[in-house]
C-alpha cells in the first residue's frame, strides 16, 4: 500500500475513534439527565404525598389564611394530573408559587415560630422546597451540558445522526415575594 493509503487509513481511524467517543459521551450525558429528572420526579411525588397532611395540620394554625391553603391543594391536584415533562413543569410552577405564598404568610405570624410542633411542620415545608430546588438545579446543570454538546460542532453531527433531542430546562418561577391578599371570611 502506498503512503497516501496509510495516511488515509490513519485519518479514517481517528474520525471513527472520535465518533465513538462523542457518541458515548452524549449517551453518558443523557443518562445523567435522566437520572437527575428521576430525582426531581421522586421528590415531586413525595411532596404531593406530604401536602394534604401538611395543609391539614396548618389549618389549625392559620385559620385566617384559608385561601392560600386552598390554592396549594388545588394546584397540587392539577400537578398530579399533568402528563409529559413540559406540562408537568408548567403545573409545578403554579404549585411552587402557591407554596411560596404560604411561606410568606407564615412569616407574618412570628408567634407561631415559638411553637415546637409548628416549627417541625415549617421545617418540613422548607426542606421540601429546598430539595426540589436543588434537584432542579442538578437537572438544569445536566440539561445545560447535554444541550451544549448537541449544539456545538462537531458533536452536533453525531447528535443529529442519532437523534439526540435538546432537553427542556426546568426554570423556577421568579421567587414571588409579594404578599397575597388576606381574606377575613
Amino acid at each position: 500500500m502506498s503512503i497516501v493509503g496509510y495516511i488515509f487509513l490513519g485519518v479514517l481511524g481517528v474520525v471513527i475513534w472520535y465518533f465513538i467517543f462523542a457518541y458515548n459521551n452524549l449517551v453518558k450525558l443523557r443518562n445523567v439527565l435522566k437520572n437527575a429528572w428521576s430525582q426531581v420526579d421522586v421528590l415531586l411525588v413525595q411532596r404531593y404525598d406530604a401536602i394534604p397532611n401538611l395543609v391539614e395540620n396548618l389549618k389549625g394554625y392559620l385559620k385566617h389564611e384559608k385561601e392560600v391553603l386552598e390554592n396549594v391543594t388545588r394546584y397540587r391536584s392539577r400537578a398530579l394530573e399533568a402528563t409529559g415533562i413540559p406540562e408537568k413543569i408548567e403545573a409545578e410552577k403554579r404549585l411552587e408559587t402557591a407554596l411560596n405564598q404560604l411561606n410568606v404568610v407564615i412569616e407574618r405570624y412570628p408567634e407561631l415560630k415559638a411553637n415546637e410542633n409548628f416549627l417541625v411542620l415549617h421545617e418540613d415545608l422548607l426542606s421540601f422546597e429546598n430539595k426540589i430546588a436543588y434537584a432542579r438545579q442538578a437537572y438544569n446543570d445536566a440539561a445545560y451540558f447535554l444541550n451544549n454538546k448537541i449544539e456545538q460542532f462537531p458533536s452536533n453531527i453525531i447528535a443529529g445522526i442519532f437523534n439526540f433531542n435538546r432537553a427542556t430546562y426546568f426554570e423556577a418561577e421568579e421567587h414571588k415575594r409579594e404578599v397575597p391578599k388576606v381574606s377575613f371570611s
Partner: protein, 478 residues
C-alpha cells in the same frame, strides 16, 4: 464537574508518586546503612509499613477518624433539620449515597468530613455549631463538607496522611534508634570507608524527607479548601451563608479531640494557629471570608477564581482550567432566613428588653442608641453590612462606596454623589490610590465600575458612564 474530579485525582497521584519516591529513598538509605547491602530490604520494609497503614485506612478510616473525634451518630428524629440540610446537599451534588451524620459534643464550632469513597463517607459537626448557626449558615458548612466528599478530597487526605505517617514513622524510628545506640554503630561503618557517607545520606533523608512531604501535603490541602469553598457556593448558590458561618466558626474553632492527623479534615483548623503559612493545613480564614463576601454577581467557578485573584492579588489558578472552560454563569439566590439585618437588630435589643439584671450592658446599649440618634440628626448615613457590622458614615465622607473593614465587601452608599443633582454628573476631583500592581477595580461616583489593568500607567482615566476624569496615583509615587 466530572473534569474537576478527574483532574483532582490525577494531581493526587502525582503527589503520591513524589511521596512514594521519598519513602523509597528513605527506606533504601536507612536499610543500606543498617545492614550491609540492605538497601532493597529497607525499601521492602518501608513499603510494607506503608501498605499496612493504607490497608488500615482503607477498611476503617471513616470509623477511625470518627472514633478519634469522639462523635456519635445522630438519628433523624433527634435532629431533622441537620438531616434535611445534608439531604439537600446530597441532592444538589448528585451523590448516590447519603453520608452518615455524626455529632461531636463540643461547645466550639467546627465540622469535618471523612471517607475513602463517596459511598463510604461521613460528616460530623459539633453541637456548638448546631446551636449557633442558622439554617443558611449550616447549609454552607454542610455544602463545604459534601464538596470535600464529592471532589474526592477526603479520599486524597486519608491516603496522603497515611503515606506521610509512614515516612514520619520510619525516619523518627531511625533517628531515635541512632540516638540510643550511638557509639556501637560506628565501628562497622568506619570499617568500610573512612567517612560514613551512608550515615550522612540516611540522616539527611530522615530529617528532610518528612519536612518535604509535609510541605507538599499542606500546600495541596490548602488549595483543596479553596476549591471546596468554591464548590460549596456553587451548590448552595448563596455565598453569604458560608461566609457568615466561617465568621462565627473563626472565633471558636479549636476542638479538644482534634490532633495533627485529623486537622486537615476540618472546615477550619481545629488546632491553635501556627504563624508560618507553610505549615498551615488551612488557608487564612479571613481571606476565605473576603473572597466569599466579594462574590456579589455570580457563584460559578469563574467568579470564584476571579474573586480569589483579586482578594489575594495573585495570579494563581486555584480552580483547574478545564472546569472553568464553560460559559456558564450562575447568579446568587435569596436568603431563606427571612431578614438577616432585622434579625441582627433583634439580637442586639435582647439584653435591653429581657436581661434586666445586667444593667451595665443595657446602659451601654442605651448610650449607643442616644449617640446614634444624635448622629441621625446630623445627617449621618447608617448602613448594615451583610456580615453584621453597622457603619455610621459622617456627612463629610465624600466617596460613593465604603470598604467593610471586617469582611472586605464593597458597599455603595445610597444617595452619595447624587446630593446636588439626581442625574449622575462629572463631579471632578476624584482621586484613586492604587494599592498594588495587579488588576484593580475602582468605582466612579456615578456607580460605574472601571477595571484598571496592571499595565495601565496613565495618570488619569475617564469614566465611560459620566465622563468624569479620575486621577490615578500609583503606589510608587509616594
Amino acid at each position: 464537574m466530572w473534569e474537576l474530579i478527574a483532574i483532582n485525582q490525577r494531581r493526587s497521584i502525582y503527589l503520591f508518586l513524589v511521596m512514594g519516591v521519598i519513602l523509597i529513598l528513605l527506606g533504601y538509605f536507612i536499610g543500606a546503612y543498617l545492614i550491609e547491602d540492605g538497601g532493597v530490604c529497607g525499601i521492602v520494609i518501608a513499603l510494607l509499613i506503608w501498605l499496612a497503614l493504607s490497608a488500615v485506612s482503607y477498611y476503617s478510616s471513616d470509623s477511625l477518624f470518627i472514633n478519634l473525634s469522639g462523635a456519635y451518630e445522630v438519628p433523624r428524629e433527634l435532629h431533622p433539620q441537620l438531616h434535611n440540610v445534608v439531604e439537600e446537599m446530597v441532592i444538589a451534588a448528585q451523590l448516590k449515597v447519603k453520608p452518615r451524620i455524626y455529632i461531636i459534643d463540643d461547645p466550639n464550632l467546627n465540622a469535618f468530613a471523612t471517607g475513602i469513597t463517596p459511598e463510604k463517607s461521613a460528616v460530623a459537626v459539633t453541637s456548638g455549631l448546631l446551636a449557633q448557626l442558622n439554617r443558611d449558615e449550616l447549609q454552607g458548612v454542610i455544602a463545604h463538607e459534601i464538596s470535600h466528599i464529592y471532589n474526592r478530597d477526603t479520599q486524597f487526605l486519608t491516603f496522603a496522611s497515611m503515606m506521610l505517617g509512614s515516612i514520619q514513622l520510619i525516619s523518627e524510628g531511625f533517628l531515635r534508634g541512632l540516638r540510643f545506640s550511638g557509639g556501637s554503630r560506628r565501628s562497622r561503618s568506619s570499617k568500610s570507608s573512612g567517612v560514613p557517607v551512608l550515615l550522612i545520606i540516611a540522616l539527611i533523608f530522615a530529617i528532610l524527607g518528612p519536612i518535604l512531604a509535609r510541605i507538599l501535603y499542606f500546600a495541596i490541602s490548602r488549595k483543596r479548601e479553596y476549591l471546596a469553598d468554591a464548590s460549596a457556593v456553587r451548590l448552595t448558590r448563596y455565598p453569604a451563608g458560608l461566609a457568615s458561618a466561617l465568621e462565627k466558626i473563626s472565633k471558636h474553632s479549636q476542638i479538644a479531640s482534634a490532633n495533627k492527623v485529623s486537622a486537615p479534615m476540618y472546615i477550619v483548623n481545629p488546632l491553635a494557629d501556627t504563624s508560618l503559612n507553610l505549615w498551615n493545613t488551612h488557608p487564612p480564614i479571613t481571606e476565605r471570608i473576603k473572597i466569599l463576601r466579594s462574590l456579589h454577581h455570580g457563584v460559578d467557578f469563574r467568579s470564584y477564581q476571579y474573586a480569589y485573584q483579586r482578594v489575594l492579588r495573585s495570579r494563581q489558578q486555584i480552580i483547574p482550567k478545564v472546569a472553568l472552560n464553560r460559559y456558564e454563569s450562575i447568579s446568587v439566590r435569596e436568603s431563606t432566613v427571612p431578614d438577616v439585618a432585622s434579625e441582627d437588630i433583634k439580637n442586639e435589643n435582647v439584653p435591653v428588653s429581657e436581661n434586666t439584671g445586667s444593667d451595665l450592658i443595657s446602659e451601654v446599649i442605651a448610650e449607643k442608641e442616644v449617640t446614634d440618634l444624635l448622629r441621625a440628626v446630623s445627617n449621618f448615613i447608617f448602613l448594615n453590612c451583610s456580615c453584621g457590622i453597622r457603619y455610621k458614615i459622617p456627612p463629610e465622607y465624600k466617596n460613593s462606596s465604603i470598604w467593610c473593614p471586617r469582611c472586605g465587601e464593597i458597599k455603595t452608599i445610597p444617595g452619595a454623589g447624587k446630593t446636588e443633582t439626581s442625574k449622575p454628573v462629572a463631579t471632578g476631583g476624584q482621586v484613586y490610590q492604587r494599592t498594588g500592581k495587579g488588576w484593580e477595580s475602582i468605582e466612579c461616583a456615578c456607580g460605574r465600575i472601571i477595571q484598571l489593568s496592571p499595565i495601565c500607567t496613565a495618570d488619569s482615566i475617564q469614566c465611560p458612564e459620566c465622563g468624569d476624569d479620575i486621577k490615578i496615583v500609583s503606589k510608587s509615587d509616594n
